[in-house]
């Protein structure tokens, strides 16, 4: 009892004065998607406590319930794994890759699958309680995407790796779909409450605050919807790229704090938008580098990272001005930072999990997957950056997709780290989930 009380007090202290104990029950921790862990991360690397192998890439981020780590895998399964031992408690099969992070509410787990369904499972047993079918999943696609040739050919985006992770609010499960809709489904019955049509794929994950659901679409708009009815309250228009569709779309999921929505965009910006009106407050221009990472917001600072430019930013939440020198992550970042005490954890596509000091940004430690250390196929150059000259031989046909697949061969971390009781849990493209102390 005293230990539990001490943990609560410690977590509150770590999360910032006046901040509540942050849940670890859905993507980015809670409905506001602040990305704050319930406990501090280790300040130095000690060991890998266990490795749990799945059958495919893990881009799903783990969530936590009573000593059990729950996550999806692109092998089509949802897993419950004992956090202490790494042994499987249960496994539930779906009909497609589970590239989303589960959400927990009461005794239920909700997750989306590439089979186009939202699953409701019993969190203790994995029993299917109900499924809700959307109009079907698909990746973002466009003609001549990213400059791929022939330019009149429609290509699926190989970097559209995530599915929308569900949010549970007021008895509804809210999530986006590749069919272009945002859905709200009754959490108890699985019946449709409302749905809202956007102009393209919705694979970002909705956040919630003050009665509004906020989520971006690949149509280039960030939408605020009434959580009760699904009625649009406002839409913020970000950049569009009619030529090669590269500088367009929200893959990043919003975080909401103090009446402001913070979200990254593929148009090369991190935006701060007023929650009530959708009016822009400020933005950070990343010079064309995607911001797929979902920002974390803690103690008046916004933490995020970029893709191609491989930069780690910490800016003032009120002004967007940098409060730390911009750091280098060496390689692309799609994963989202987790603020865990005085440490910020970030998964990088070079197969490294990087731990940085929250206040000054210096690298404290990093863990690298075996594939990253081995650097098979010379995926990484001597400077640790992607060996793009080798990986991307041509813009014709499927050559880019093949290059992206090889990139992930180093065990890219697309997922967001979960930190509980000083242990870090994260899945990798090498099909493993790691528990790191």
């Amino acid at each position: 009892m005293r230990a539990a009380a001490a943990r609560v007090a410690l977590a509150a202290l770590l999360a910032g004065a006046g901040s509540p104990l942050h849940a670890q029950a859905m993507f980015r921790g809670d409905a506001a998607h602040l990305g704050i862990a319930a406990s501090a991360a280790p300040r130095e690397f000690h060991r890998v406590r266990w490795v749990f192998p799945t059958g495919a890439r893990v881009v799903s981020s783990p969530v936590w319930r009573d000593g059990v780590v729950l996550f999806g895998s692109d092998d089509g399964n949802i897993y419950a794994v004992d956090a202490a031992t790494g042994r499987q408690r249960w496994m539930a099969r779906t009909g497609g890759p589970v590239s989303s992070t589960p959400a927990l509410s009461g005794e239920r787990l909700f997750a989306t699958s590439y089979d186009g369904r939202l699953y409701a499972l019993d969190v203790r047993s994995g029993e299917v309680l109900w499924k809700f079918a959307t109009e079907g999943e698909r990746r973002f696609e466009a003609r001549g995407l990213h400059g791929m040739q022939p330019r009149t050919q429609t290509f699926a985006d190989m970097y559209d790796v995530y599915l929308s992770s569900p949010l549970v609010v007021d008895g509804k499960v809210v999530f986006g779909s590749g069919d272009g809709h945002v859905y709200a489904v009754d959490a108890a019955t699985g019946r449709l409450a409302w749905k809202f049509a956007t102009g393209d794929v919705v694979h970002a994950s909705p956040a919630y605050a003050d009665g509004l659901v906020v989520v971006g679409s690949w149509d280039g708009r960030l939408y605020a919807l009434d959580a009760a009815t699904g009625t649009q309250r406002w839409a913020f228009q970000a950049g569009v790229d009619p030529l090669i569709h590269n500088q367009q779309g929200f893959q990043s999921s919003p975080a909401i704090a103090e009446g402001t929505v913070f979200v990254g965009c593929r148009d090369g910006h991190l935006y701060a938008v007023d929650l009530r009106s959708g009016a822009p407050k400020w933005n950070v221009d990343t010079e064309g580098s995607w911001v797929n990472s979902s920002p974390a917001v803690a103690q008046g600072r916004v933490y995020f990272a970029t893709s191609d430019s491989a930069r780690y930013h910490v800016v003032d939440a009120a002004t967007g001005r940098p409060v730390q020198p911009v750091g280098s992550t060496r390689a692309y970042v799609f994963g989202s930072p987790t603020v865990a005490g005085d440490t910020v954890l970030l998964g990088v596509l070079d197969g490294s999990l990087q731990a940085r000091d929250r206040l000054d940004g210096r690298l404290l430690w990093e863990f690298r997957t075996e594939a990253s250390r081995a650097n098979r196929d010379w995926v990484l150059g001597a400077d640790g950056r992607f060996n793009s000259a080798l990986l991307f031989a041509s813009s014709w046909g499927d050559a880019n997709a093949e290059g992206a697949r090889r990139q992930q061969g180093v065990g890219s971390f697309f997922a967001t780290p979960l930190v509980v009781d000083g242990t870090v849990y994260i899945g990798s493209a090498d099909a493993n989930v790691y528990a790191i102390e």
């Binding site: 059958g55 895998s73 499987q88 496994m91 890759p97 029993e127 299917v128 499924k131 079918a133 699985g190």
Partner: protein, 255 residues
Amino acid sequence: MQAFVPWRWRALKCFLPALGLAAGSAGAAPELAGRWEGVADIPGWPLRLLVDLERDAHGQWTGSAILPGRGVKGAPLDGLAVDGCDVRFGLAAAFPGGGGATVPRVALACRADGVLAGSFMLGGLSTSIALRRSGAAQVDRPPANSVIDAALAGRWTGRYELGGVAREVTLTLANRGAAGGGGQLVIVGRRTTTLDVDQVTQGREFVTLRASAADFRIEGRLSAADGTIEGAVAQGPYEAPLVLRRQAAAGQEAS
């Protein structure tokens, strides 16, 4: 090249399994139960493989496989045979696109260094494989069939349309003793197909029925009060909505 084996060693090798010792092992037989991890050396495409082996409650060997990167977790080992330190199994479930001669087979034997090494055979080809013990076994067992209750047992009919062709469905379900629920599915479209429903999962409301030989699945929400199963049929990537309605047994009225 065939290795020369002196006759005395050959004779000894015959007795070792009977003594519970490992042929080919310099010392005691390694503990076969456990998680074994390694690579099959397919040229240019090394295949990562994790195999879990353990004895079940009846002392019989059982196992499952994980193929990271191929989307396979917990595939059962078919035809698993353990003879002393020799281990053989097939991986049909891990390679669903195969069949017949293309079902991969694995033959392993203990080496003196504790490695399980041997051959991985697929499509008439063979390559080396070596597995090292990496921990305790975590065998995935196939889910047991549910014992179905009165609300689900019985005869159900429905209709679905796929590819512009209407199909009438008659489903009959019952408990099959210790094997749990099962039944028969008759589909009448352009032709009549009869399938054995061999996998049944009945949850609190949600029901999944599978005819594994045809990869045919019916799933949906069971309403005992309405006498309906509202859901879908699916076969591979194809699916269609289906509502099944309970039919009265002979001499009974529909509820």
